[in-house]
Amino acid sequence: MTSRHERFTGWQRLLHWVMAACILAMLFIGVGMVSTVKPLYLTLVSIHKPLGIAILVLAVVRLALRLRYGAPSLPADLPEPMKLAAEGSHYALYALMIGMPLIGWGMLSAAAYPVVLFRGWHLPAILRQSDSLHTLLWDAHFYLAFVFFALILLHVAAALFHALVRRDGVFETMASVFTGGEVAPAE
């Protein structure tokens, strides 16, 4: 298979797909946990916190890779508004990947909950206790979660549009997680 574009580096692709799975899981875990009183609630919460912090760490690594290695250029024939939308939405996605976990952490800190990641393993508070800060961050975590999900849906729609309709090679810049990009033999 040949692509008109260079691709994201192997690490960038690996991180993209691992994080896509984690972030989608987080969104579903989030809305699932706040809508049940069953013991599942505690299980989901105990995944939500460490996974969210893992996403924060990975997002910072990913941002560093992005700054170091950049991204393939978009096809020259892509209409200007679509280019803008692509770039703008990628900025927004990075902001949310880093912002959401920080907001979650800050929200728990402002409520004086211990931020336990694993049994006996907890993070320090990053904010003093404050009901107004807690409320602000709670609202942010809530509304931004839905913004995040909507943005991901748009992002997936765009990715599939590139892959199935435009077939312009943009999808392939991110497609494989394997560095070499070997082609699986077509059956």
Binding site: M1, W17, L27, F28, V31, G32, M33, V34, S35, T36, V37, K38, P39, L40, Y41, L42, V45, A111, A112, Y113, P114, R119, G120, W121, H122, P124, R128, Q129, S130, D131, S132, L133, H134, T135, W138, F149, L153, V156, A157, L160, F161, A163, L164, V165, R167, F171, E172, A175, S176, V177, F178, G181, V183, A184, A186
Partner: protein, 385 residues
């Protein structure tokens, strides 16, 4: 049709580099199906666009389902919290249940005996700071003290390793119902306009009788200091060897219990409990011993309406001392959620379904009341927001 197959092959070539091969194969089958359906239209991209729409629509639908938007019958924290609302309206800025209360600070002094059951730091001999709250089991923040049967105590014990043990206990010897779902039904019945609702509830829930018997015949006292507070829910302690022990715990008052009739209490002021405990602690710190009861194998650990037999092993693991009482409005307990699942390592939840339900509901109650702080303003200027 050949054209379709060609397109399929192109799709395939365009995409075959993908790890998600299998998922995409399924999607491609979908496209084939769609395009066959739309064969009459002869507009190739339509199938792809429809597929994209389906993926997005399905994603959104599964999300909405997970969030419970299609499940009005699912018992959610929101619904359970709403069920507490008294006919007079919720007490904005206050806890949605156990709404009336007063803060205290003090210490928990561990005698070291608990280490046999749990490796939690809080059981190592030593003194650990406590923030607590005496409270009444009512959703009405202005309820006269004598009108509320259930009295509670919330505590938060902090250890130097940064861990916390939070617990919210009540004076009843057993809980009213066996499951969170039944608790919801109890709330609905008690707020129902149907005069027979409570009778119907009690008939459908025979386990309610034990609690009802205590409520009617158990002793009343004139002081928070004379009450015994019970965890009722069971938890699991993990000792140093990794062995697990199903336990419940109680705080036993050192103060002498003086039974006072409900009629007698009704003659006292609406806040007599708060005034009494403030004066009592000011003149002398008040103490409770903490006793952990260990279940025998086979004892019911999932049902807080069933007390364990009296001969079960119990261990005195330390003592709680209340040293100072503060009004809730500006007090240190105000913005704490005494969530019973905030446990140090060495303690876990058991198969008792209540702590999880309580945690989810207390968090909701906390979110609501902290957002309503302006309806319960602090009196001290410069107090923490």
């Amino acid at each position: 049709m050949l054209a379709w197959l060609c397109r399929m092959r192109q799709h395939y070539l365009a995409l075959n580099n993908l790890l998600l091969n299998n998922i995409l194969k399924t999607l491609r089958c979908l496209i084939v199906g769609l395009e066959v359906c739309m064969a009459a239209s002869h507009k190739p991209p339509l199938g792809s666009l429809a597929l994209i729409a389906i993926v997005i629509g399905l994603g959104a639908a599964i999300f909405a389902y997970t969030a419970g938007w299609f499940s009005p019958q699912r018992l959610t924290p929101d619904r359970l919290v709403a069920a507490f609302a008294p006919p007079t309206g919720v007490a904005l800025g206050h806890r949605r249940n156990h709404a009336k209360g007063i803060c205290f600070t003090g210490v928990f002094e561990a005698n070291g005996a608990g280490s046999e059951l749990s490796q939690a730091r809080v059981f190592a001999r030593g003194q650990y700071p406590v923030v607590g709250r005496f409270n009444l089991g009512t959703a009405d923040a202005d309820a006269p003290d004598a009108t509320v049967r259930v009295r509670g105590l919330g505590i938060q014990i902090s250890t130097p390793d940064g861990q916390q043990w939070r617990s919210a206990m009540i004076n009843a010897p057993v809980f009213a119902v066996s499951t969170p779902q039944a608790f919801y039904e109890l709330l609905r019945a008690s707020h129902s306009k149907d005069p027979d609702a409570m009778k119907a509830f009690a008939a459908a829930h025979p386990e309610f009788a034990k609690f009802g018997d205590w409520a009617k015949n158990g002793p009343w006292t004139g002081s928070y200091a004379e009450e015994r507070y019970n965890s009722l829910n069971s938890f699991v302690f993990v000792d140093g060897s990794g062995a697990k022990h199903a336990v419940r715990w109680s705080l036993l008052p050192v103060a002498q219990l003086v039974a006072v009739s409900a009629d007698e209490l009704a003659k006292r002021g609406p806040d007599f409990l708060e005034q009494e405990i403030t004066q009592r602690v000011a003149s002398e710190p008040q103490r409770w011993t903490m006793v952990v009861t260990v279940a025998n194998p086979g004892d019911p650990t999932a049902d807080p309406t069933v007390a364990w037999p009296a001969d079960r092993r119990s261990i005195e693991i330390g003592a709680l001392t209340a040293q100072q009482v503060q009004a809730e409005r500006d007090g240190p307990c105000r913005d704490i959620n005494f969530d019973p699942t905030v446990l140090p390592s060495g303690m876990r939840t058991s198969d008792d379904p209540f702590p999880a339900a309580r945690s989810s509901v207390y968090a909701k109650s906390y979110d609501l009341r902290t957002a309503e702080a302006k309806d319960y303003p602090r009196s001290v200027t410069g107090a923490k927001p």
